[in-house]
Symmetry: C2
Subunit: 193 residues, 2 copies
């Protein structure tokens, strides 16, 4: 007699990670980022919460993986803080332009923005992630008011939209160096006054 | 015998203007802003081109009316140029925040952005309008490189999205005065170096 594979709880099957991510997408979309829990996602995926923790250190990391984002706040924040404070603006612009330069890394971010702009559930999820997991943390690390960080975010958000979605010329074809020159001081001023 | 109202060509019926605008929306969506013509819109509306000109001075004006935009480039550009050049940044920020403060004037602009972000035809139309009818004209009037005007546009576009669509706090509830203080110098620097 063969042992039948039991559906549901499969601790360690080849696609467990994929099933967790699929459950995460569902739970994040329904509950938003703040109210989604590892426990809730584990339940949705029919796995033990410990297994979720085995694959993903943090809820932020799970969100980034679920949305196929190329970077997580845990990578962005140290990259920003490393190096001279007076070059922070230019460093941020260069980081964002580098991450968005390749379609494979850019498209999932654009997809998230598209859904946020058109869907009420998605906008809540996006808002909660972008503020609580990213912007407020950067603001607190740098001791900069939240409004100033959001001004910096809005500048970079606008640039990504103008360059890759609206495809305004000459912005769409502009050299990253030239953009860093133009936008760096804006971000720097928001961060350091 | 009663005279039946003839469908199609109705030069001056109560809703002729509405019919022209409806035709304009169709033609702009299909052809984009650049390739749409008064003649083509008149044909679509079954009216004489002279009648289109009677209702709308310019293609820009017709586009703004068709999209229910609260302002046209012909109003924005003089408003920007009036007054001291060194206060241009603040003036632009205040103008945009004022126009977008009321839902009735804001919603059509947001609707246009939403469709541009999700629809390939709409993005072409939006791109052509925003560059040829607005940004390049401002750039040329002010003798500022196109890339700098697009940097200014991207900042204000990002702010409108962060404030009204993503509704990030504290940006969403920020006082317009405080925002003008924060963003004005950014726009000023893009415009005047």
């Amino acid at each position: 007699m063969t042992v039948k594979r039991r559906p549901g709880r499969r601790p360690g099957s080849a696609d467990t990670r994929g099933e967790i991510l699929s459950a995460a997408r569902k739970v994040f979309a329904e509950k938003g980022f703040d109210k989604a829990t590892v426990r809730g996602i584990a339940r949705e995926a029919h796995v033990d919460p410990a297994l979720v923790h085995h694959y993903f250190d943090t809820k932020e990391g799970m969100f980034a993986a679920a949305m196929r984002l190329p970077i997580t706040p845990d990578v962005v924040i140290p990259a920003l803080l490393e190096g001279p404070r007076e070059e922070l603006g230019r460093r941020l612009v260069t980081l964002i332009l580098t991450v968005t330069a390749e379609p494979e890394t850019r498209e999932p971010m654009i997809a998230l923005v598209r859904s946020a702009v058109t869907n009420e559930h998605a906008v809540t999820m996006f808002r909660e992630f972008i503020t609580n997991a990213l912007l407020y943390r950067v603001a607190d690390e740098l001791d900069v008011p939240h409004l100033r960080i959001e001004a910096a975010f809005s500048q970079m958000f606008g640039v990504i939209m103008a360059r890759y979605v609206l495809k305004l010329e000459p912005m769409a074809s502009a050299d990253p160096e030239e953009l860093a020159e133009l936008l760096g001081p804006t971000i720097q001023r928001y961060f350091t006054g």
